[in-house]
Amino acid sequence: MTLETEVQSLRQVPMFRDVDPARLKLLAFTSERVQFAGGQRFFSQGDPSDAAYVILDGRASVLLNTPGGDIQVAELGSNALVGEMGILSDTPRSATIMAAEPTTALRIDKRVFLELLAQFPQMSLAIMRELAKRLERTNAQLVAQSSS
C-alpha cells in the first residue's frame, strides 16, 4: 500500500471529498500509517484528543463508557473518519475506539491537521461544508423526533 492508495481512501471520506488532490497527498504524507491489533484501542474515552484516524483496512468498534460497563454503539469500517470532532473542538475523547480485528489506519496528527486548515482555506471550507451538512441532518432528525 502506498501513498497513492491512501489518497484514494481519503477521497472516500465525505469531509475530504472536495479537497484538492495535491492537498490530500500532503495530508496523507504528513500522516502516519499505523496498525492496530484486534482489541487494541485507538484511544479511550476521556483521553486528550491528539489525532484523527481514517480506517484504511479492518473494522473498529465505538464504545461508550457507562456505569454498566462499555457498550458498543457503532462499528466503523473502511474509509471511516474518526476522532475529528475532538481535534476540531479541542475536547477530550467522547468515546473509546477499539480495533475489532487487525486494523490499519491513517493517523492524522492534530497539530499538522490544524496547520493545514490554517494554510489552505479551501480545505477549511470543505470541512465546514461537511460540518454544516451534519448539523442539518441532526436538526432534521430532531424535527422528526419531536414531531413523531
Partner: protein, 906 residues
C-alpha cells in the same frame, strides 16, 4: 596592578630583559663588521688594492690596530694573517662574509625568539592577573561590569601590550646606541653641523609627541568605543529573544550602525592626524640635509670646512634617520600601549575589587557550623537608602530548619544572602557559636555553606561536571604526570605567576565525601537526582547518550547480552513486529536507504546526511553496484512528489522542516532540475545527479510510503552493503562504524545499541511499548545505574540552555546537596516548579537536612509549619517563632508576636 606599564614589565621581567639587552649589545660588533666587509671585498680582493705594490700575496685575517695619531700612532699587530693569493683572498673574505651573515642571522633569530617568548610570558602573566581580578570583582562592581567587555579586555586589548613588552627596553637601547653613535660621529666631524642635527632632532622629539597627544586621546576613545561595541553585540545576542518579540531589528540595526559611524569617525580623525604627523616628521628629517648643504656648503666655500668632512657628515646623517624614525615609532607605540594599559587598569581599578583571595586557612578553623546562631543589632539598608531591617535580632540553635517567610518584601531574600555570605552589606553582628559570620574564611564558607538562588547558573559541560563543581575546591596532588612534562609546566607557571595546579589532577576529595571513587560518587549523584525527580530524565539522557567502552566497562561487557535478552523478550511477548532488527542479510524497511547501504553509523561528517551523496568512496561503491542510476531515478520521483505536495506552502512553514525532503529554499532548484529532465535535455548534469541522489538516502520506506522500493531493489541494496564495506576498507576510511550483532557500536546511541534495530513506524503505540520493554530489561539486568551514568555525561549547553528550567533548577539544587553543607540556604531555587512539586521538594529538603541546617525563603507560611523555626519580617524587625513540636522549650511564644504574625498573614 602597577599604575605604570613599565614598572609592571620591569618588576616581572627584568632578568630576561637584561639578558636580551646584553646579547643585543654583544651582537653589535658583528653587525658592524658585516657592514664593513663588502667594502673590503670590493676594494682589496676585486679591485686589488691589497696587491697594488706588485705583491702576489696579501695577508688574510690579519689582526692589527692602528693607534690614533694623538696616542702616538703606530700599529699594534696581533696576528699577521695568512699570506694568500688574490683568488684566495676573494674566497677567504667571501667566506668570512658568509660567516658573519650566519652569525648575524643566528643573533637575530635568538633575539627575536627571546623577545617573543618574553612577550608571551608577560602576556600570560598579565591575562592571568586580570582573570584573578575578575574573580575579585565586588558585588557592587559586578552591577556595572559587562562580561563581554571584560572578556574583550582580557583577550584582545592586552594582546598589543604583550607584543610591545619584548621591545619595551630592548628597542630603545638598541636603536638609541645606533643613533648616538651616528650623532657623535657627526659631532666629531663638525660641532656646528652636529648641533644643527641635534637641534632638529630636539624639535622632532618635542613637537611630535605634542601633536601625538591628540592622537592618544583619540586612541583612547577608539578603544572604549570598540569595547562598548563588543559589549553591545553581546547584549543584543544575549537578549535576542526580546529583540525578536518586540520586532526591534530596526532599532538595533540603527543603534549598531550609529556606533560604527562613531567608530569610523574616530578612526578617520586618527588617520588624518597620524599621517599629518608622519608628513611633518619626514619634512623635519629632510630639513637637516638642507641645513647641511646650505650651511655646510657655506662653510666649505668659506674654507672653514673641507669637502671630505662635509661628505662624511652627510653620509653619517644618512645612517641617522632609520634608527631615529624607529625610535619615534617605538615612542608612539609606547604611548599607545600605555594608554591601553591605563584603560585596562581602570577597568580593574582597586576600588572595584574585593580583598585578595586567601590561599590557605589553618585547619583549626574548619569546624562544623553548629551552635547558637545569634544576630544582634542588624541594620540592612535598601538600595534607595530606606531601612529594610532596623535593629533586628534573632537566635536560633543550629542545626535547625528555618523558614524565612517573605512578606512580599526584600528582607527575607537579603537576610538569606547574608546568612549564605553572599552579601556583607549589613551592620550589626551575626555569630555562629564563637565565630563571627563575616570573619569565616571563604574556603570554609565554600565547603560548609551552600546557596541555591533563583538563577541556576550552569557552565557548559556535562551534567556531572556541573554537579561536582562545588566539590572541586583544591587538587589532591594524585596526578601521575610525565615528570619532564610536569617540570616544564610548573617551571613555566612559576615564571609567569600562574597557578601550578593541574586541572588533570583529582580535584574531588572522595574521602571527605565518604565515597570510594568516581563510581561511588556517581551513585550518590544519581540517588540525589532520582530523589529530586530527575531520575527518569537522566535515564532517557543515558539512552540517547553514547557509550565509551573504556569508561563504561561494565555496560560495554553486558550490552550485547542485554541486546539478546531484549530480542527474546520481544519474541516471547508477541512484540517482534515492534522492532525491525538490523540483519546483515535483510533490508530494514524502518531505516533509511543510506543506513541500509552503509549498515553502520557515520563517524565523520563526510558520511553524514547529504554529504554522503558527494562522498567519492560511497559514490564509487554505488557505481560498482550499478545503483547510481536507480538512486537518481528515485531522487527524481521524490523531487516530483515533494514539489507537487509542498507547493503553495510558504517558505519556513513548520511542515517543511518536519516532513519535506527538500527545504523550502531548494524547492525552485529542484523544480528547475525536473523541468530540465522533463524537456528531455539528454542526460542530467553531474551536479543535478548528485543533488537528486542525496534525496533517496534519507528515504524510509515504512514512513514515507512513496512505494519506491520493491523486493528486488531491496535485495540489491542489501547486496551492495558488502561492496560499500569493501570499498571503504580498501580506502582505509574510518568514516563509518559498521553494525555487528555481536559487538557494540560506539558511534550509535545507547538506545540503538540495545534495540539493534528500528522501532516500527507502522505499529500503533510502538515507541511507548518498546521503551517499556527496554526499561524492563535494563532493570532486570541491573544496568539502570550504568545507563544513568551515561546520562550524567549529557551536555547542558551554554548556560544550561539544553536543559529545561526545572532541570536546571534540579541540577543547581543537587550541586548544593552533594556538598553536604552544614548550612543550605535556598532562596527562590524552587521557583521553576509548580506548587505541588515545590511542596514535595521542600519536604525532601527537610528530610535530607534533618542533621544539618536549612534556611529557606518561603513566599507564604503555608509550609512554614514543617520547619523548626519561622522567621518573619515586619516593620524592620525580625520575629522568630519556634514550632512547638520540635522545640518544646520555646512552646510559649510571646503573645504579642503571635498576634502580629496573625495580622500579617491576614
Amino acid at each position: 596592578m602597577e599604575k605604570s606599564l613599565f614598572r609592571y614589565i620591569w618588576t616581572h621581567s627584568k632578568r630576561d630583559q637584561m639578558i636580551v639587552c646584553a646579547v643585543v649589545l654583544a651582537s653589535l660588533p658583528f653587525y658592524f663588521m658585516s657592514l664593513d666587509l663588502p667594502r673590503q671585498i670590493v676594494n682589496q680582493a676585486i679591485q686589488g688594492e691589497a696587491f697594488r705594490d706588485g705583491n702576489t700575496t696579501a695577508p688574510f685575517l690579519a689582526l692589527k690596530y692602528d693607534w690614533p695619531a694623538w696616542l702616538g700612532g703606530g700599529t699594534l699587530e696581533l696576528f699577521e694573517g695568512f699570506q694568500v693569493s688574490r683568488l684566495g683572498l676573494l674566497m677567504g673574505l667571501s667566506f668570512v662574509f658568509l660567516f658573519f651573515v650566519i652569525v648575524n642571522g643566528a643573533f637575530k633569530y635568538w633575539i627575536n625568539v627571546s623577545k617573543g617568548i618574553l612577550g608571551e610570558r608577560m602576556l600570560r602573566r598579565m591575562r592571568f592577573d586580570l582573570f584573578s581580578m575578575v574573580l575579585r570583582f565586588t558585588p557592587e562592581a559586578l552591577r556595572t561590569v559587562k562580561s563581554s567587555e571584560t572578556a574583550t579586555i582580557v583577550k584582545d586589548e592586552v594582546e598589543p601590550i604583550g607584543g610591545f613588552i619584548g621591545d619595551a627596553f630592548i628597542t630603545p637601547v638598541f636603536l638609541g646606541t645606533q643613533a648616538i653613535t651616528a650623532l657623535v660621529f657627526i659631532m666629531v666631524q663638525n660641532a656646528w653641523l652636529g648641533l644643527i642635527a641635534l637641534a632638529v632632532i630636539a624639535v622632532q622629539f618635542t613637537i611630535i609627541p605634542r601633536l601625538r597627544r591628540a592622537l592618544l586621546r583619540l586612541g583612547k576613545q577608539r578603544q572604549l568605543a570598540s569595547r562598548q561595541l563588543a559589549g553591545r553585540i553581546a547584549e543584543v545576542l544575549d537578549g535576542i529573544e526580546v529583540v525578536h518579540v518586540h520586532n526591534a531589528y530596526k532599532w538595533e540595526r540603527a543603534e549598531i550602525g550609529h556606533r560604527l559611524f562613531n567608530l569610523f569617525f574616530i578612526r578617520l580623525e586618527i588617520y588624518n592626524r597620524k599621517f599629518f604627523v608622519k608628513a611633518l616628521n619626514n619634512f623635519l628629517a629632510q630639513l637637516t640635509p638642507f641645513f647641511f648643504y646650505a650651511i655646510g656648503g657655506y662653510f666649505a666655500l668659506r674654507g672653514t670646512l673641507d669637502i671630505g668632512q662635509l661628505v662624511a657628515v652627510i653620509a653619517a646623517y644618512r645612517e641617522l634617520p632609520p634608527p631615529l624614525k624607529e625610535l619615534i615609532d617605538w615612542d608612539q607605540l609606547r604611548l599607545d600601549v600605555q594608554v591601553k594599559y591605563d584603560q585596562v587598569t581602570q577597568h580593574f581599578a582597586e576600588e572595584r575589587l574585593g580583598p585578595l583571595l586567601e590561599d590557605r586557612e589553618p585547619a583549626t578553623e574548619d569546624q562544623p557550623l553548629i551552635g547558637p546562631l545569634l544576630g544582634e543589632e542588624i541594620q540592612i539598608a535598601g538600595p534607595h537608602g530606606d531601612m529594610i531591617i532596623e535593629g533586628g535580632a534573632f537566635e536560633v540553635e543550629l542545626p535547625a530548619s528555618v523558614a524565612l517567610i517573605s512578606n512580599g518584601g526584600a528582607a527575607a531574600g537579603i537576610l538569606a544572602r547574608i546568612l549564605a555570605r553572599r552579601s556583607l552589606e549589613f551592620s550589626g553582628r551575626i555569630r555562629i557559636g564563637e565565630r563571627d559570620l563575616a570573619q569565616i574564611p571563604i574556603s570554609v564558607v565554600g565547603r560548609r555553606i551552600a546557596y541555591a538562588g533563583v538563577d541556576p547558573i550552569l557552565f557548559p559541560g556535562s551534567i556531572r561536571d556541573n554537579l561536582v563543581y562545588g566539590l572541586r575546591s583544591r587538587p589532591l596532588g594524585k596526578l601521575k604526570e610525565d615528570k619532564p612534562e610536569m617540570d616544564r609546566r610548573i617551571a613555566e607557571a612559576l615564571r609567569t605567576g600562574n597557578p601550578i595546579e593541574s586541572i588533570a589532577d583529582q580535584w574531588v576529595d572522595y574521602e571527605r565525601l565518604g565515597v570510594k571513587d568516581e563510581n561511588d560518587l556517581d551513585r550518590i549523584l544519581l540517588e540525589l537526582m532520582d530523589r529530586i525527580g530527575m531520575g527518569d530524565t537522566i535515564y532517557l539522557f543515558g539512552l540517547a547518550g553514547r557509550i565509551d567502552p573504556e569508561r563504561h566497562t561494565t555496560l560495554a561487557e553486558r550490552l550485547v547480552e542485554a541486546r539478546h535478552r531484549l530480542r527474546e523478550t520481544f519474541q516471547s511477548n508477541g512484540m517482534s513486529d515492534l522492532v525491525e532488527p538490523f540483519d546483515p542479510g535483510r533490508y530494514n524497511s524502518q531505516a533509511t536507504i543510506a543506513e541500509n547501504l552503509l549498515f553502520g553509523v557515520p563517524v565523520s561528517d563526510a558520511f553524514r546526511g547529504r554529504n554522503l551523496a558527494e562522498n567519492a568512496q560511497f559514490r564509487g561503491a554505488m557505481d560498482r553496484a550499478v545503483l547510481t542510476d536507480e538512486l537518481v531515478r528515485m531522487g527524481l520521483q521524490i523531487a516530483e512528489t515533494m514539489t507537487e505536495i509542498f507547493e503553495g506552502l510558504p517558505p519556513g512553514h513548520s511542515l517543511f522542516e518536519q516532513f519535506s525532503f527538500i527545504g523550502a529554499e531548494e524547492l525552485p532548484e529542484f523544480e528547475a532540475i525536473l523541468r530540465r529532465h522533463g524537456r528531455g535535455e539528454g542526460s542530467l548534469k553531474r551536479e543535478d545527479r548528485t543533488r537528486l541522489l542525496s534525496l533517496p538516502l534519507a528515504y524510509i520506506e515504512a514512513r514515507h510510503r512513496l512505494g519506491l522500493l520493491d523486493d528486488a531493489m531491496m535485495s540489491r541494496i542489501v547486496e551492495a552493503r558488502s561492496l560499500v564495506h569493501a570499498v571503504l576498507e580498501e580506502a582505509g576510511s574510518e568514516g563509518v562504524e559498521f553494525y555487528d550483532p555481536e559487538r557494540i557500536c560506539a558511534a550509535a546511541p545507547l538506545r540503538d545499541n540495545l534495540l539493534f534495530g528500528r522501532v516500527s513506524y507502522q505499529v500503533a503505540n510502538a515507541r511507548a511499548r518498546v521503551a517499556e520493554a527496554v526499561a524492563t530489561v535494563v532493570r532486570e539486568l541491573e544496568l539502570k545505574e550504568e545507563v544513568e551514568k551515561i546520562g550524567l555525561d549529557y551536555q547542558v549547553g551554554t548556560a544550561g540552555r539544553l536543559l529545561s528550567p526545572q532541570e536546571r533548577a534540579s541540577v543547581n539544587l543537587v550541586r548544593c546537596l552533594v556538598k553536604r553543607p552544614d548550612i543550605l540556604v535556598v532562596d527562590g531555587a524552587l521557583a521553576p516548579f509548580d506548587e505541588a512539586r515545590s511542596q514535595q521538594l521542600v519536604q525532601l529538603l527537610l528530610e535530607l537536612f534533618d542533621q544539618q541546617s536549612l534556611f529557606m525563603v518561603l513566599p507564604n507560611d503555608r509550609q512554614a509549619g514543617d520547619f523548626d523555626v519561622q522567621m518573619r519580617f515586619r516593620d524592620g524587625q525580625i520575629i522568630t517563632n519556634k514550632t512547638a513540636a520540635s522545640a518544646p522549650r520555646a512552646s510559649t511564644p510571646e503573645p504579642d508576636a503571635a498576634q502580629r504574625i496573625a495580622g500579617e498573614v491576614a
